[in-house]
Amino acid sequence: MRNNFKEKHKLPLTFQYIEMIKNKSNKKKNSNTVFYTKCTKYETDFYAIEKPIKPLVRML
């Protein structure tokens, strides 16, 4: 039962308590999703685009 990973050799007891989590690849994206893009200055392909911490203008 522990070895429902179908392994020939024994596994540590930690596998008995492992939690399986479904991949959320089709999670709905919305305005609160953090998107990543390229940034040359900081030399990364995973630059986190984040909203401002406060309302920059208050027109409405």
Binding site: R2, L13, T14, F15, Y17, I18, E19, K22, Y42
Partner: protein
């Protein structure tokens, strides 16, 4: 010139770079997929990759964060020549890495991963309290419901363990005895904690955060089973001086000058759990307003 060894995904690296720009400090950033050739010019040794050129003499400090310096390795047709050239290239690369590690640094490529079992022994030697632990292949010595089991090594995330799921290996309470024997596993006495502490250590100084995970059923045993809807209370904490001193001794013994340490507070005792030399500390920095990324930039 500062050398930063990281991978493209790491967010902490970007935060530190932002401060480096602010401090007008020059740096070279190396990605995990860069491959370097060792070359020379006017009696000086330099490294060249697809996107970077760095002279060893120019580098004044090194921050090892993730990934590593990879080298091009030439193979030869003739077996004897190939064996000879393997040695030559290996020791040339070793010389380059050793030279880089001898400079002012924060973390090192060579000890960014550590042996958890070894660390526990060194922690005890340094005078820290460690919950009783042992290795076993069966549950004969295990006191059910009073003992936890956790992985000896590796990440707690096992990607694509099954077709469309990944596995999370948290610290778990052993709830019942096991009939069969199993691969050597790590068992430790379960501590009734008041709260947990994550400490960031850098060059002799510590910054700590207390994590109140015990009120939430989800995070009670392993606080990394993060409750995103109602996050655990994370607040500033100050370790007592005697614990700080022991932490310092332990880090020096392990030849580490930077890392994240986990503790559990129970009654009057501080129980040491583990060290992660290149662990995440972004939340410690943000939740406690410690500006740790700025601190790293200052010390490079």
């Amino acid at each position: 010139m500062i050398l930063i060894i990281s991978n493209k995904k790491d967010q902490t690296t970007v935060e530190v770079i932002k401060w480096l720009y602010r401090m007008n400090k020059q740096f070279i950033r190396v990605h995990e997929d860069e491959v370097f050739e060792i070359k020379t010019e006017s009696k000086k040794v330099f490294l060249e990759s697809q996107r970077n050129t760095l002279f060893l003499d120019d580098i004044k400090s090194v921050w090892y964060r993730r990934g590593g310096i990879r080298f091009k390795h030439f193979r030869y047709e003739n077996d004897s020549i190939d064996e000879h050239m393997y040695e030559i290239q290996h020791w040339l690369q070793d010389y380059v890495l050793k030279t880089l590690e001898s400079k002012k640094h924060i973390n090192k490529q060579s000890n960014s991963q550590i042996n958890k079992l070894w660390v526990l022994e060194k922690a005890i030697q340094a005078g820290l309290d460690v919950p009783e632990y042992f290795l076993a292949e069966n549950t004969d010595e295990v006191i059910v419901n009073k003992t936890i089991v956790k992985p000896i090594a590796g990440s707690s995330v096992l990607e694509t363990l099954k077709k469309d799921s990944y596995g999370m290996m948290y610290t778990s309470i052993v709830e019942k005895p096991e009939k069969d024997s199993f691969f050597i596993s790590f068992f430790q006495k379960k501590i009734e904690k008041d709260f947990e502490i994550r400490t960031f250590y850098l060059n002799g100084k510590t910054w700590s955060m207390a994590i109140f995970s015990q009120n939430d059923e989800q995070t009670k045993v392993d606080f990394r089973k993060y409750n995103d809807e109602n996050p655990n209370r994370n607040v500033r904490y100050k370790l007592p001086k005697n614990i700080e001193e022991k932490v310092h001794i332990l880090m020096q013994t392990l030849d580490l000058n930077c890392g994240s340490l986990d503790f559990m507070k129970s009654g009057n005792k501080y129980y040491f759990l583990e060290i992660n030399p290149v662990g995440q500390f972004g939340n410690v920095s943000a939740d406690c307003n410690y500006f740790l990324e700025r601190e790293i930039a200052l010390q490079l």
